[in-house]
Symmetry: C2
Subunit: 412 residues, 2 copies
């Protein structure tokens, strides 16, 4: 493994991890923009823009984009979150240069009015589909409730109204402001020729004009609100609870991931034994989402209406016990093993390395090998986790319930 | 990469591919048994038995099984198909021996009556869930229709009736007959110590008693029937069409995969351009399923009721054209690139190698490196694919439609 990096004059960061034993190679464009960078009038524009990049350029129509990736046998896609828009492709090593050239080209899209108007329907269908998926919808609603007026509460997809009202001009302006080379990172991983690929990227992206790009990054401790939305058509209660956690920039993020696994890994966790194993809930998980200068623990629990009060009582008992007694040594050890396995398995392929490499650069301006992450997980002690509990008090949370019932509330 | 194999005296095959550069290791037990090995009275027993193996042994209860995997940080699971039941775990190299020992232990389960009776409900819920998933249900029903009375038409999950009627004694007998060491393969892949692991497996599995195990493997060309089931609650028509293809034992399986990709890959295929791109269908894909001494092309298409006749007409036109003109050189090249990418990406991690290694042994008694598969894909010529079309006539198919409509039928 060899780490390489180069920053073009216009600020575009190019980072690579060359592994000549790998059988594939991956490239990704990481644009540091997402729903938290939107104002209400353009809610959903980041995600909409991600779709529009596949509609092509002055030289390529939508079908030709499709065909170009297809010819390379590329596994390619993109995703948009609250704070990033990422475009990627994994290919055989002999196709990496072509895949890189194709992405550099697509990063300056035509944004045609016709495509823009057509795509509005696709976006609105996607909004409808997610609204029909309660496990997604409840998390989206809980996030808004937790972050209140903080921009991290903005919805990624936008609303039917915001999408209908969005103009092509607004999207153009957003593109110019946010897809600025100094707000983007190109990451490369696997078996590829660094010098050749860097030359190609410099040639195609070197003249992109840079803008001044900012982001509001005030931390926010959560609203502590509690809400329920009754939806008679649902069969199950969907519960999302959110409490503060550490940002990506905080070294304690490894301890925070361990804490989340102890509480809410899908098997063998506190939630598992108290809720799933006791048949009170069908699923109950917790994750730590470390973001840019903020972070939160998200729990998602699904259960029957008849059990929801018992579930909330059991959750309270778990947090009370953690607050008093902390975690145990065997919980720490099992959680570490799980996190280490997941870390190693994910980072075993170039596509996995790409994501780690890209995000470490975006958030930390730092290269981290898998081994460094492994060492940092191993180094977490029981006191590191227990002092996180004392500091962040995960039992003080914001709660949203979506389901057929009407009157469950937590006594706290 | 180094291939290793050893057959124990009782017939248990142990095969391994050691890769000392890998960061993880994987182990799997491949039992050559599935729904095609069941008679009607015990329909679903293979899949039910897969669940029961997680309920533990004389020494371990269900929760202890869970905890044991959990402590290893194992990514573990199992699946049952028409002809295989596979149990696997991926772990860090230092936990491979423990994971191997745990699986060897679980392979001789207690099959407790209490667990058996409790688990019936879980199986019946799974049946209900799949019946509520039309994309799955239509393929299951089409498979039964295609294979008619041939055992490959047997449903994996069984029916509520067969599960209710199943006795613990029937399951015990099936276990003894089918989980015989000479009907099983242990596969190992990634970074592990072959000698040590083999010793451990020999020690724990060497005394398992072997039985005479048989399977009915007559090929079957398909019933050519056409059926529709009207389900007013559905919003969409779900169409499955099936035609004969090559078995796993046939070298032409690479050409058959290419043909399936040309016709029905999810982008850039004949189905894509004629159905999805034209907005006649929302999804339209074809796969080649090569099985033990038989094989079939499966297509799945989802569309609105108003389009279903047009979809069937367009499908007919695709097959008529293929029959007359065959595929093009550029279709061959794009399909090869896609298949090669998928092959390389899948086989880049020990868990992917495990599946290839295990199935190549089960079906072919052969070790095949990823490179051999790559070479065989590359060697396929346009005539190889076109002579498959002439031989198998994919336009002559069995068809099942599940949806709200009532009268669509194909003119053929």
């Amino acid at each position: 493994m060899e780490f390489k990096k180069h920053i073009l004059d216009n600020g575009l960061a190019v980072v690579g991890e060359v592994n000549s034993f790998a059988k594939s190679a991956a490239i990704g464009f990481f644009v540091k923009t997402g729903s938290r960078d939107e104002i209400k009038q353009i809610s959903g524009v980041s995600h909409f823009l991600e779709h529009m990049l596949f509609k092509g350029t002055d030289k390529l129509g939508p079908l030709e984009v499709n065909e170009a990736f297809d010819r390379l046998g590329a596994h390619y896609n993109a995703f948009t979150s609250e704070e990033n828009t990422v475009f990627y492709a994994a290919v055989l090593p002999e196709h990496l240069a072509d895949a890189a050239q194709l992405w550099t080209h697509l990063m300056r899209p035509a944004l045609r009015d016709d495509d823009f108007n057509m795509e509005k329907n696709v976006i609105k269908e996607e909004i409808a589909m997610y609204e029909d998926t309660p496990s997604y919808d409840v998390i989206d609603k809980a996030r808004s409730l937790y972050f209140d007026s903080h921009p991290c509460g903005n919805t990624v997809l936008g609303t039917r109204q915001s999408i209908d009202a969005l103009t092509a001009k607004q999207m153009h302006d957003y593109f110019t402001a946010r897809y600025s080379p100094n707000n983007m990172t190109v990451a490369l991983a696997g078996n590829f020729d660094w010098d050749k690929t860097l030359r190609l990227i410099a040639e195609h992206c070197g003249l992109w004009r840079q803008q001044t790009v900012t982001r509001q990054t005030k931390d926010y401790p959560g609203s502590l609100k509690s809400e329920r939305l009754q939806k008679a058509s649902l069969k199950r209660e969907h519960i999302c609870i959110i409490s503060p956690a550490v940002p990506m920039q905080d070294k304690r993020r490894f301890a925070a991931s361990i804490l989340a696994a102890v509480i809410g890994d899908n098997v063998g966790s506190r939630y598992f034994w108290a809720l799933v194993d006791k048949a009170l809930a069908e699923t109950a998980t917790m994750q730590c989402e470390s973001m840019d200068r903020t972070g939160a623990f998200f729990s998602y629990i699904r259960c029957g209406s008849e059990s929801s009060q018992k579930v909330l009582d059991a959750v309270k008992a778990i947090f009370d016990d953690l607050d008093t007694n902390g975690i145990t040594a065997s919980e720490l050890s099992a959680a570490k093993n799980k996190i280490l396995s997941a870390l190693v398995l994910k980072n075993e392929i170039p596509m996995g390395r790409l994501v780690s490499l890209g995000f470490n650069w975006v958030y930390l301006n730092e290269y981290r090998s898998t081994e460094q992450d492994i060492d940092d997980v191993k180094a977490v002690g029981i006191d590191d986790v227990n002092s996180l509990i004392k500091h962040f008090r995960p039992g003080r949370f914001t709660q949203f319930i979506l389901g057929p019932g009407s009157d469950t509330s937590i006594q706290s």
